[in-house]
């Protein structure tokens, strides 16, 4: 890669973004041939709502018995340029909802409109030009190079031969660049790592040139840095290109940090929507994921494992060492209490330059440890002794 291009990469994305947004939007609407969209659009609304659903019920038809509802009477909409994360406990029907919104599954009742056109009235091709989908089960394998996979995204725009015009190639190159997957272009898809493949699949969705992108757990098989990277990329794309992006994820923390809006789907099929911060403050996140095993820590903005503390300990110390010591203690069942409360155990963290020591003071004796590991093993053996002496 040349010096010059390296330089360009480091240029702040936002300045390019502003430029890109206006022209790209114009491009998108300019390229779509005159479909029913133009004629049917309501004159009151200048901007199409990319996705809207009224009293939507999703689930499965079961032969010979009443249908199994996953969620009922949902009213939802996505604004242009909005990045929304769909969260919910396992098995609550996030994938079903995404598939239904994508038109891959029939809703049990209610209606879905994409760019103000009911999806029922759209041909498969029109739908493919309006919404692109990245599903977990469609990670491709096979003798395709990454470029050809991204090129599949051009299918709704090309003729029967599928041959790519200049505009198609430009869009493919752009899509590959948007997810930083250009170096992968000529590699076989089966040789790529999960993260790289996911990038290619997202590039494929971008190449499809739709205003709306739905992703079902795109971060599922990725490690943390890759997940952060992906969310960041998607959020930037939403903002810069005016794309509406909806993704389902289990990654609460990342979703809280990057989403413009959260959709919380809870057991029983109720959907709550709102800004992440407001939902967190209102306790909605805690109630959606309510469980015996975890507690929602509103101040940390994260879930904490719920354990019954079997003993208390006073911890003297500050900084990172104290934080991690506290975590280790809580894992083995010690609750850290305020220094003035009655506890016969006290741990003092002393930092002398680069060396940190842990001083454990019991009622009778006191010991010094060089690591958290040693401290924890000593506490565990202490537990063991008290248990055996009690019996």
């Amino acid at each position: 890669m040349s010096e010059e291009r390296e330089g360009e990469r480091t240029r702040p994305a936002c300045s390019i973004g502003r430029l890109a947004r206006s022209s790209s939007r114009a491009n998108v609407s300019g390229e779509t041939p005159k479909t029913a969209r133009e004629t049917r659009a309501l004159p009151k609304k200048p901007v199409d709502i990319p996705l809207a659903a009224q009293s939507l019920s999703v689930g499965y038809e079961v032969k010979g018995s009443p249908p199994r509802y996953v969620a009922r009477d949902l009213d939802l909409d996505l604004e242009p340029g909005e990045f929304v994360c769909l969260l919910g406990p396992n098995g609550v029907g996030k994938s079903t909802l995404i598939r239904t919104l994508a038109g891959m599954q029939k809703p049990l009742s209610g209606s879905i409109r994409i760019s103000d056109i009911p999806t029922n009235d759209m041909t498969p091709k029109e739908k493919a030009r309006a919404v692109s989908v990245v599903l977990t089960d469609s990670l491709p394998a096979g003798m395709f190079d990454a470029y050809s996979v991204v090129a599949l995204g051009r299918h709704p725009h090309t003729g029967w031969t599928g041959s790519l015009g200049e505009k198609d190639r430009a869009r493919i190159s752009w899509a590959l660049r948007a997810v930083a997957a250009e170096p992968l272009a000529s590699r076989q898809i089966s040789e790529l790592s999960d993260g790289e493949r996911q990038k290619v699949m997202i590039a494929r969705a971008l190449a499809q040139e739709t205003g709306l992108i739905l992703l079902d757990e795109p971060t599922a098989f990725l490690d943390l840095p890759r997940r952060v990277e992906l969310m960041q990329t998607l959020r930037d794309l939403a903002r810069r290109e005016g794309l509406s992006i909806l993704l389902s994820t289990h990654d609460l923390d990342l979703a809280l940090r990057s989403a413009d809006k959260l959709w919380l789907l809870s057991e029983g099929g109720a959907l709550k929507t709102g800004m992440p911060e407001e939902l967190a403050l209102a306790g909605e996140i805690a109630s959606t994921f309510a469980s015996d095993q975890v507690d929602w820590d509103s101040e940390q903005g994260a879930f904490r494992m719920h354990r019954h503390a079997c003993a208390t300990v006073v911890l003297d110390g500050t900084g990172a060492a104290a934080v991690w010591t506290k975590r280790a203690l809580s894992r083995i069942g010690y609750e850290v209490v305020a220094s003035d409360s009655a506890s016969n155990l006290r741990i003092r963290i002393e930092e002398n330059g680069s060396r940190t020591t842990w001083q454990l003071e019991g009622s009778q004796d006191s010991k010094q440890f060089a690591s958290i590991q040693d401290l924890v093993s000593s506490l565990l053996s202490l537990d063991h002794q008290t248990e055996t002496s009690e019996t």
């Binding site: 240029r11 498969p124 491709p140 394998a141 096979g142 599928g162 990277e229």
Partner: protein, 372 residues
């Protein structure tokens, strides 16, 4: 990381990145072109060899003279070339091409490297039809076949094609409703059930009748005369031509039906069209030439290995050529001098086909990789 650059597809960077891309595609293009050229030349050479070689070897000039209608002294040669060798060679060419493309269609639709035209019961349907004609009808009304010597063979063809069509009709009727995996299993089960009926028929039949059934099941390219070529050729040309129109949706189907649907592919229509075309071609070939195994599986794998791609706009023409080539080569071996008459074609295609699949397997490590 998230160096999400670029925006509109019209930046300066764009124009600089593009030539590299085009060069990459171009270099791929020339390689593909050369392989196609080589395949085409190979098929032509094999076609020529099939006309020249046989129980009596003819020189190229003799064949040329026979074709252009030279001197009268070579009337026998002329008859051999025009009435036997040429139709047989063209039959092999068309049958091989048809089986290869229907194998490719099946493998893509079922996303299964071992699918071939016969998994859906084309084979067993045809053999039931033939078994009914040869084992039930013929003993019952011997005069029927003996009196109509010529149409006796045509009856077998009709029975085979009809039998294949009935079984496929059943499978296609289900294709609307069930998913591909169920369809695959359905086809296999139908094959077993129909095969069981055939073996019951054979159990109650006389030895010489069974012999004539066996000789059909060995397969041969020698039974299609010019007069049959109209039906045979038209069916296969239609099937192969129509398959070319499916190459774009088939690429998407390879990634899974849901994926294809999200790209605007009419999944069910494509599934039925592909299975219909594969049935038409495989049914026609089985009717006229008998059940010819392995070719349908082997040729597409050979093409994937040669062209290193799964794109159907390359694989479909490539399969046409390589299938034709394999069939011609197999027939050349089957009628080679020294085997006293002919080897069963089916044995030859298996002997040629099995190593191809094994080689592809070893080179690719994992055939599944090419699917999903």
């Amino acid at each position: 990381m998230p160096d999400v650059l670029g925006g509109t597809p019209k930046t300066a960077r764009e124009t600089r990145a593009l030539p590299e891309m085009i060069m990459l595609k171009a270099s791929l293009g020339t390689r593909t072109g050369w392989i196609f050229l080589a395949l085409g030349a190979g098929v032509f050479g094999l076609l020529l060899a099939n006309v020249c070689l046989g129980s009596a070897n003819l020189s190229f000039s003799e064949v040329w003279a026979a074709l252009t209608g030279g001197d009268s002294e070579s009337a026998v040669t002329r008859q051999i070339v025009l009435d036997f060798r040429l139709p047989r060679a063209f039959t092999a060419l068309l049958a091989g091409a048809a089986l290869a493309v229907s194998g490719l269609l099946m493998q893509t639709i079922f996303r299964n490297p071992l699918a071939d035209p016969f998994v859906l019961g084309v084979n067993s349907g045809a053999s039931l039809g033939v078994a009914i004609v040869l084992l039930v009808l013929a003993p019952a009304g011997v005069t029927l076949t003996q009196g109509l010597e010529l149409s006796g063979h045509l009856l077998v063809v009709l029975a085979a094609t009809g039998g294949a069509a009935v079984v496929l009709g059943v499978v296609l009727a289900f294709a609307q409703r069930v998913d591909v995996m169920s369809l695959l299993i359905l086809g296999l089960m139908l094959s077993y059930a129909v095969g069981a009926v055939v073996s019951i028929l054979m159990f109650y039949s006389m030895a010489e009748r069974i012999q004539s059934f066996f000789s059909w099941s060995y397969g041969t390219f020698g039974n299609v005369a010019w007069s049959h070529m109209r039906v045979f050729g038209v069916c296969i040309a239609t099937g192969a031509g129509a398959a070319l129109f499916l190459s774009k949706p088939l690429d998407a189907m390879l990634m899974g039906e849901r994926f294809a649907e999200s790209l605007g592919t009419k999944v069910k229509a494509i599934r039925i069209a592909s299975l219909g075309l594969a049935s038409l071609m495989a049914g026609t070939v089985t009717g006229f030439c008998g059940p010819i195994g392995f070719l349908g599986i082997a040729a597409p794998h050979l093409c994937r290995y040669l062209f290193k791609t799964a794109q159907h706009r390359i694989l479909i023409p490539a399969s046409l050529l390589s299938g034709a080539g394999i069939a011609l080569a197999a027939d050349l071996v089957a009628k080679a001098p020294g085997f006293d008459g002919a080897l069963p074609l089916n044995a030859v295609t298996a002997l040629v086909g099995a190593p191809v699949i094994i080689a592809a397997l070893i080179r690719q490590r994992n055939l599944r990789k090419a699917f999903g």
